[in-house]
Amino acid sequence: MADHEASKINHDNHLLLDQPLLRLPYELLRKNFRSAHYSFEKDSTFVKNLLKDTATGSLNGKTSPEDVVKNLDVMLARMRGMKRKLSTYADEETRLYKQVDARVAHLRELSDVHTVEDVKYEAWSRKRLDRLLVDYLLRHGYNSSAVALADERDMRDLVDINTFVAMSKIRKSLENRSVQEALAWCSENKKALRNMNSNLEFMLRCQQFIEMLRAGTPANCTAAIAHAKRFIVPFNDTYREQVESVAGLLAYRPGTTLEPYQSLYSQDRWTKLADIFVEAHNKLLGLPSFPLLHIALSSGLSALKTPACHSSQTTSSSPSHHTSLTTSVCPICSTELNDLARHVPYAHHSKSHVEHDLLLLPNGRVYGKARLEEYADKAGLPKGQVKDLVTGESFSTDDLKKVFIT
């Protein structure tokens, strides 16, 4: 039967929503490693050179024993610093390994489940929803809610609290008109940002320039020009036009109504910066640009939606829920999703799905024979009578008419 097919879990394609679950810790492992490697290279080059120079200097008498001790102290301090940093990176690596382990185990659980009717599937799918919810909450900066839900469900290893909390801190700082945090993030990820042609740093540097001009004192203007020379002019080749408009700002005060200067002075630019940052952040880590829950809902609402869901009539029959006489409210008709689903297309069907042996009541409503009989029996109706399950009207079975659905 076709239904069997629809209930089967297609393992090749069932984990589309779950790709970032393993991709992200992997990306973070690489990023963490790159930072560790970079800091090791820097410190070790310094120590190795100093070591060599000190040995040479000591040998040819240019470096006194006292200076040798001093240099050794410098090297020791540097190495202890390196140890501290490497330990931090190693701890982060351990944490990420633990996440990868927990996550692959979670995804692996699904391998044993072959149909959505399996109770194990429901448990798994509920966990997935919880993950999607935490992802949604984190992306919107509802961090306390995200942490509360993750802890309630005991699934910290399956969600990316650290990553998104760090992200929302930077985003908030931009919304609060501070570029420092975002600039620090840019320098941490300089190479990767360059590879993906991100304009984030340029935009941040421009904003600094704009703020100096906004303050407007002569000292500020001088500083602004120095800032532009150092941080904006280097972008001249890449963003020539924008560099020119920004430079033109020197001639205009914040109150100007002339474009593009009015927009450049606009406070809305901060929101835009925050958006650019979030976009760059997600792209850099291979995260989808909008919440996974949105993807799941767009697809799910449409798959479930029927023309009846926003119609004024109460439908009569329910093709699959006649284990009970009264039916559950359809999820799309339910208050939670009804308004949200108004904006999505309904599912496409090429075949009718109706109850067996349909009978037409004189009032125009159609029900399956089995359900009508069961209801009549439960309602204690005399033989030869049936009752409309929705309206409660009683009719004689003689007045029923067979309905043929081809």
């Binding site: 394609n13 984990l15 050794l72 900066g141 993807i295 798959a303 208050t335 075949k351 009718s352």
Partner: protein, 443 residues
């Protein structure tokens, strides 16, 4: 490869987990620190040029070796990461997700409301209240006209059907209301009331689990008018089970062995409560009472099935949940859960479609009907679907299904096209009919 990809991936990763990690580099850094410290002690102890230059010369090689070791450790760690990447590419290759268009982005308030209601119905009251507080405090995307979760004084346009006849029953007023117009979108619901309601639901379910039917019975009695209007037999089913439960007596039900328990208690209960149900359930009541005659040997009697309780408790629990939610205008299972699950099931079709049509830049979300099929398991089909066998279109409110005298059903528009004058010929049988004889039906 079927379901084995994740198994393979897990196995391969288990191997990676055994590989050296950054922590091994840390212990080799310690080795360098030891070397440097020892050298410092020697040079500082003697403080003469000869010792200093000799110590420094002797330090060069071991230090270089130790640094190389750390470097090797880092390489090993990186090797492990690369293996993870390789294993992921092989067993969990990246497939693109639809990313052009986010249909949900314009309705943050509605998504938030769905989440808040989901948390409440799942009994996650503390998470829900944290969320409501957080969501009220912030407005993402800074659109000023929108309230993310406005819990104060919602407009009184309930979607829950106002079936309550008791005007003095304040609880029966709509719990949450929503209005949605094209331009304005203020959504609100009484989260407090909803929480109280779901807390009540969980209390009753808890009691049912402990085999205490009384709170459920009380709820059903309070709401009997609404339940009956829905055609629900819940009140009688609960009474029925209570009768059976008492009938089984103290040894089974663990209730005090007094005149309100056992067969006598069951009869007493029946006398007191069953008359209310006589109109609708006379037949079943008779059977239940007749069973008394077989009390000594029920197992062998024709009434045995009536007295099974194990499944009956599970059944009344689920019908209780269904009815309880239905009276609130809500689905029995969390719609958010169903929708997310259906979403995951339908997503491959959507991805296939968007990938195939990307070049044409079709926005699949702007049309009325999806352009592709998204088959769902049967239990996720909640409404009858009628596809006109001629036009192959689903019927809608504007184009409803029509039955013609021979009993075949066609979409209204199809019928209008088939009409020659006022008459048409059925495409499925030799019968003919007149337009005036065709009737709209409600499936």
């Amino acid at each position: 490869m079927g379901g084995t990809d994740m198994e393979d991936l897990q196995q391969e990763l288990a191997e990676v987990f055994k590989m050296p990690r950054l922590s091994s580099a840390v212990s080799n850094v310690d080795r360098i620190i030891e070397l440097l410290s020892a050298a410092r002690e020697q040079v500082a102890g003697a403080l003469d040029p000869h010792t200093a230059s000799l110590t420094m010369a002797k330090l060069q090689n071991p230090a270089k070796v130790a640094f190389d070791k750390v470097n090797d450790n880092l390489k090993d760690a990186s090797q492990a990461h690369k293996k993870i990447g390789k294993a992921l590419n092989e067993h969990f290759p990246n497939k693109p997700l639809p990313s052009d268009h986010d249909a949900m982005a314009n309705h943050p308030a509605l998504v938030n409301r769905a989440i808040a209601m989901h948390l409440l119905r799942e009994g996650q009251f503390s998470v829900a209240s944290t969320f409501i507080e957080e969501a009220q405090g912030s407005v993402p995307n800074a659109s000023t006209s929108q309230t993310i979760l406005d819990l104060e004084d919602p407009p009184d346009l309930g979607t829950a059907e106002p079936m309550d006849e008791d005007a003095d029953d304040a609880e029966a007023s709509p719990l949450f209301s929503s209005t949605s117009s094209e331009n304005r979108e203020i959504t609100a619901f009484h989260s407090q009331e909803l929480q109280v309601k779901f807390a009540e639901m969980y209390r009753v379910l808890q009691d049912l689990k402990a085999r205490n039917l009384l709170p459920a019975i009380e709820w059903a009695r309070e709401n009997s008018a609404e339940l009956e209007a829905r055609g629900s037999n819940l009140e009688f089913e609960l009474g029925h089970l209570q009768y059976v439960w008492l009938f089984k007596g103290s040894a089974v039900n663990g209730l005090p062995d007094d005149e309100n328990n056992g067969q006598a208690g069951a009869i007493r209960y029946a006398q007191k409560h069953f008359p209310r149900h006589q109109g609708r359930h006379l037949h079943e009541i008779q059977r239940l009472v007749n069973a008394l005659a077989y009390a000594s040997n029920l197992q062998a009697s024709p009434y045995r099935a009536l007295f099974e309780t194990d499944d009956a408790f599970a059944e009344v629990s689920s019908s209780f949940t269904r009815e309880f939610c239905s009276l609130l205008g809500l689905s029995a299972e969390s719609p958010l859960y169903i929708a997310a699950t259906a979403g995951a099931l339908a997503l491959p079709q959507l991805v296939k479609y968007t990938t195939a049509t990307r070049s044409k830049n079709t926005e699949w979300t702007t049309v009325n009907e999806l352009a592709f099929e998204t088959p769902l398991p049967k239990r996720m089909v909640y409404h009858s679907i009628f596809v006109c066998p001629v036009s192959k279109e689903q019927t809608t409110e504007d184009n409803p299904p029509m039955i013609i005298p021979c009993g075949h059903v066609l979409a209204k528009e199809t019928l209008q096209k088939l009409c020659k004058g006022s008459r048409f010929k059925c495409p499925y049988c030799p019968n003919e009919g007149q337009m005036k004889d065709a009737r709209q039906i409600i499936l």
